[in-house]
């Protein structure tokens, strides 16, 4: 274990990331906004839908990172070599 590790800061990051992930959620995308018969109206709906999917995936990634940091910080705080190994294992799985 690195003696300079600051698990409190890691845990704080996890908390902030959870807030970031929550902020990314929500907001309704415009689906086919008006002007029937125009291709762009359909395209806006499809664009918004695709971006929502991409954004949802990004949000899930941030949320996973936050959870992993949270677990890691908890383990690091115990300053346990075994716990450190668990943290390494955890990160190696998502890395």
């Amino acid at each position: 274990m690195d003696i300079e590790i600051d698990p409190t800061e890691v845990l704080r990051s996890a908390s902030i990331l959870e807030t970031v992930a929550a902020g990314l959620e929500g907001g309704s995308a415009p689906a086919h906004p008006g002007n029937a018969g125009f291709l762009l109206s359909d395209a806006i709906g499809r664009f918004a839908s695709q971006m929502q999917t991409t954004s949802d995936e990004a949000t899930a990634g941030v949320r996973t990172t936050a959870a992993n940091l949270d677990v890691s910080a908890t383990l690091l705080r115990r300053a346990d070599d075994d716990a450190g190994a668990v943290a390494r294992s955890l990160w190696s799985r998502i890395g």
Partner: protein
């Protein structure tokens, strides 16, 4: 194809809201990018081991992903904003045109497809001709506005979906619109120029309204060479001709008023390249054979019954009729019924009164010959048609 009623009903509000939504999402993604970058720096500092650095790297990747989202949202906002402004301008042009037409005596339209009709009776030759010529110009202007709106709408859609990697079919048409509407509109706007290939053009106009997919199958864009690969027929066998749309002659067939090249320009050029004599055999079976490989006999002008039967087919038949051996019209003929001597027209069908509708490949504005004006579209009674047309051909599906 965007119609007049749809264009006039265009509301900028919904698109403006969509653009605003996109910009706001872009700003939010940038804020998230900054937050993630800051957290990555903190994690890297608080957890200096390789595992901590890996955590920081993952956070930076997530920040980068947010940055890419922000760029996509920003780009989309620009595309939608530009399209909204352009469509608003085109809408205003159409509204102004409607007002101008409404304020012009003996004029009606434009109808949903942009056609303006001159209604001046033939009681004064000069005023009659001015009325018909003005109607033709109004039609060209209206169609040009619709075409610009259609092109702009399509280009904006492709650009917007391209941002998220969605291809909008067809994307391989090259620089010329080969949608059904595009093919038919270009056929309606076709203006014959240097070449005396009226039968070729009339046949192509008929095919556009019968089976536009025939044009797409026989005129394929090759993005690698930047050329259209046009399939023609020599002695019944297919031959492929490469046509570079960037090097089309400026005085060949083109779209009326705007002088833009059309798919007919490409086809005409392909025939000229392959055979070297695009004007040859116009009053023989040559043009249809070169275009379709079919041996279609040239007969007398197809009768009204023939026309009705051909138009009832699905897809409809293609009919041309010419005045090559027809007697001259009397000097006092109604100018609205003037037909060009030694010329081929596309027979478009019968109107509600049973008159034969003939489209002049010179274009919707018609033209002048030997000091006389000839309209772009003529409606003749079946008797007049059979008197003033000498020959014709019917190309029946499938072809």
């Amino acid at each position: 194809m965007i119609t007049v009623s749809r264009l006039v009903a265009f509301e900028p509000g919904p698109w403006q809201s969509a653009a605003e939504w996109s910009r706001e999402r872009g700003k939010a993604a940038r804020r998230t990018e900054t937050d993630l970058d800051q957290e990555a720096a903190k994690v890297a500092q608080a957890w200096p081991s390789p595992v901590g650095q890996l955590a920081a790297a993952i956070l930076r990747q997530q920040a980068d992903a947010q940055g890419e989202l922000a760029v996509a949202y920003d780009d989309a906002g620009v595309v939608i904003d530009d399209a909204t402004i352009a469509m608003g301008d085109l809408r205003q042009q159409m509204v102004s045109l409607q007002a101008t037409v409404a304020g012009t005596p003996d004029m009606s339209g434009p109808d949903d497809s942009g056609v303006v009709t001159g209604t001046r009776a033939f009681d004064n030759l000069v005023e009659f001709l001015q009325n018909r010529a003005a109607a033709g110009q109004f039609t060209i202007t209206a169609r040009e506005i619709l075409m610009q709106a259609t092109d702009r709408d399509r280009a904006a859609s492709i650009a917007l979906l391209g941002i998220v990697g969605i291809d909008v079919p067809p994307t391989n048409d090259g620089p010329i619109d080969l949608s059904d509407d595009g093919i038919q509109l270009q056929a309606d706007l076709n203006a014959q120029d240097r070449y005396g290939d009226c039968t070729t053009l009339s046949t192509l106009i008929g095919i556009a309204h019968s089976d536009p997919d025939f044009i797409r199958r026989h005129m394929v864009w090759d993005p690698e060479t930047g050329t259209y690969q046009v399939t023609l027929y020599r002695d019944g066998e297919p031959v492929t001709v490469s046509v570079d749309p960037a090097t089309l002659p400026t005085d060949g067939s083109q779209q009326a008023a705007t002088n833009k090249p059309s798919w007919l320009s490409v086809y005409e050029q392909a025939i000229q390249q392959e055979f070297g004599d695009v004007a040859n055999g116009q009053f023989e079976e040559v043009p249809i054979a070169r275009i379709t490989g079919e041996d279609v006999p040239r007969t007398g002008p197809p009768s009204a019954a023939d026309i009705e039967r051909a138009m009832d087919q699905d897809p409809r038949g293609v009919i041309t009729a010419d005045t090559a051996n027809a007697p001259a019209q009397p000097d006092n003929v109604d100018p609205a019924k003037r037909v060009v001597p030694g010329h081929t027209y596309c027979v478009r069908g019968l109107d509600a009164d049973g008159n034969v509708i003939l489209q002049n490949p010179w274009g919707p504005g018609g033209g002048w010959h030997d000091g006389k004006y000839y309209p772009g579209e003529v409606h003749l009674t079946p008797e007049e048609y059979e008197r003033w047309f000498s020959n014709g051909a019917v190309l029946n599906p499938p072809y």
